[in-house]
Subunit: 382 residues, 2 copies
């Protein structure tokens, strides 16, 4: 085993944890906080809860919520202006991966200047970031614990992946109650993103014993609780366990990085305004089929984590059962099945394959890929 690193924020987990946000900021030395969210979070009432907690503790605050799906460089720049104009000294991000990724990207620009494009890639951030407290509301992105921020380069029509230890927030507040306002579609889409994080981290070339335990648990929890979570907004047991699954999958992929599904999904998300989780779940079984050869034992483990009885099976057989399970799960919860279903044009395959080939997430994919291999996987998923 090579030398490896593992890093995570302080985590506060549980129903009602969101009410600790003001106190958490204060503990980090915050006095004037920028709260980044999105219109959906505001409508659900969660921004009000955060504001109340900040007010109670005497924190000054400013809000910013011009954040869209697959968030854009321009949104980060606008948010940074608000941060500077209001002399903020700390950041709260509340929402799905978009709001949290924008909050992190604003944190970069606030103390490092320049454009967000300057920080694409690994370890490009020089100065320490302001205190950051993140509150996920989707049980999906894992961004509240990760070293990642993914921002759309609008001019270049591609997603930029920014990776740095300083993007790990100081405190992640995970409150399962915030999941009760999500639609069934969003629950399905983000839940399949969690599964993708768990599986890609587990078979990643950078996986370690510390990431494996997290990935394993995340995969098991999704297998047990994603269906009931899609079925009911108020099933507390399902929400709590999906929140934990998302957190653990986030810890796994933050430290083990991801693979071809995310590389390809970033390419598509750069051009089409489609839910990240939907693209991932379409691609996941196809990429699993392609990657199976690279580590049959680990794919057999995944079958076991999913609850499949693999006794008497070879690793290859068990791995195939895992792929079948994933396909069935996406069908059960009504996830889109083909890229053509979500409006993608087939002529784009070559271009997108080239972009995917150079995505940072491709480096840790367990099987070597050429641009032709990616095209072939895209075609199968069309």
């Amino acid at each position: 085993m090579n030398i490896h690193k593992f890093v995570m924020p302080e985590v506060i987990f549980g129903n009602g944890a969101i009410h600790q946000v003001g106190e958490s900021c204060l503990r980090l030395g915050a006095t004037n906080v920028l709260i980044v969210s999105d219109p959906g979070v505001i409508e659900a009432g969660w921004l009000d809860v955060v504001i109340k907690s900040c007010k109670q503790i005497g924190l000054k605050y400013t809000t910013f919520y011009d954040v869209t799906m697959n968030p854009k460089d321009s949104e980060v720049e606008k948010g940074c202006e608000v941060y500077i104009q209001n002399e903020c000294d700390s950041i709260i991000g509340i929402g799905g991966g978009s709001a949290i990724d924008v909050a992190k990207a604003i944190a970069i620009l606030a103390t490092n200047g320049g454009r967000i494009h300057d920080y694409e890639g690994i370890d490009k951030i020089k100065n320490p970031l302001p205190p950051q407290v993140m509150i996920p509301t989707t049980a999906g992105s894992g961004s509240e614990v990760s070293q990642f921020s993914v921002i759309l380069d609008t001019a270049g029509q591609k997603k930029m992946t920014i990776v740095s230890k300083s993007l790990v927030p100081d405190i992640a507040i995970v409150d399962p109650e915030t999941l009760s306002t999500k639609s069934a579609h969003l629950t399905a889409s983000t839940g399949l993103d969690v599964l993708t994080h768990g599986i890609e981290a587990y078979v990643s070339l950078a996986a370690t014993p510390l990431t494996d335990v997290q990935a394993k648990n995340a995969i098991s929890l999704v297998a047990q609780y994603l269906r009931p979570s899609v079925a009911s907004k108020i099933n507390k047991e399902a929400k709590t366990n999906m929140a934990m699954a998302s957190l653990q999958a986030g810890l796994a992929f933050s430290n083990a990085i991801l693979g071809a599904v995310h590389a390809m999904s970033h390419a598509i998300g750069g051009k089409y305004p489609i839910l990240h989780g939907d693209v991932n779940s379409i691609l996941l079984p196809h990429v699993m089929e392609y990657n199976l050869l690279a580590n049959p034992k680990k794919f057999a483990d995944i079958a076991l984590f999913l609850g499949i009885d693999i006794r008497g099976m070879s690793d290859m057989e068990a791995g195939k059962k895992a792929i079948e399970y994933v396909k069935n799960l996406t069908l059960d919860i009504g996830a889109p099945q083909r890229l053509s279903d979500i409006g993608l044009e087939k002529e784009e395959i070559r271009k997108m394959s080239l972009i995917a080939l150079h995505d940072a997430c491709m480096i840790t994919n367990p099987r070597d890929v050429t641009v032709e291999d990616i095209e072939e996987i895209f075609r199968k998923a069309w």
Copy 2:
């Protein structure tokens, strides 16, 4: 599930990781570091490795190694004088739990003043601590990742448990190669301490899903690798896995706290100069027998983690098998079996039971205890 918190340092794990200590300190802003170790670590040559790494990177340093087993308040005070006289701004601790606990305690006094006794209990530390990098060399204490420091009150003849999030070091460097210089007895004793951490954290009243995954893995690794690790100084696979077990058990108990074994062991360690791990391993099966009633399901899980085939057994039956397994493991590796073997006087039982009853670790023990219950357990272990 109530709201719970989980916190851990950045971890750097792997053979050769120790050479990253200088760079790690630099990254935390250190310029002049106090290196706390003990005579055994110096003899094994590990202090020289740390000094070389600091020199290479241009760090000023001072060493302090007046640290003994069950480390004392007077040692902390002496170390703090050295820190202040030399105008240090950061701390490295390298060694077993003693050196690391002293390093942490010096960090407290360095920025908070007073006597170490002022900080006994939970969350008594007000000011931020200087940067801390810890390097365990025993695969035992877990102190390199924990919120704990345990220091002996020499006048009061009792161990003081200090608990605070700010005692979690900034960086823990875990290098399995440092385990190759430990004696078989020390390997056995510290390894059984790891098992005790894993088991007490798993059945603790403060256990959470995040601590359970760590405790589970630690218990499994001890069952697989402690015997071969005691048998050979150079079995790299065994050393690597015991280092991981110690780390994971540390993450578990740091966040789930411990139980009656540690409460009772602290009472004994306050008076007798005996290896902490030896006392723990003698007490562990007796406390497990006492606690079984409190959570048969979790004790059955432990049997499973230990590799026992529990099919067809009730939880109580499986839990008893786990206890039997622990007894056999201690016999296999030649650990002391009775408190009388290690020189304890029976007349002390009442006094020690009273001290144990009020130890911070007793709060999370899964079964209620009276002073008479503790006396009874002590007598069984005599």
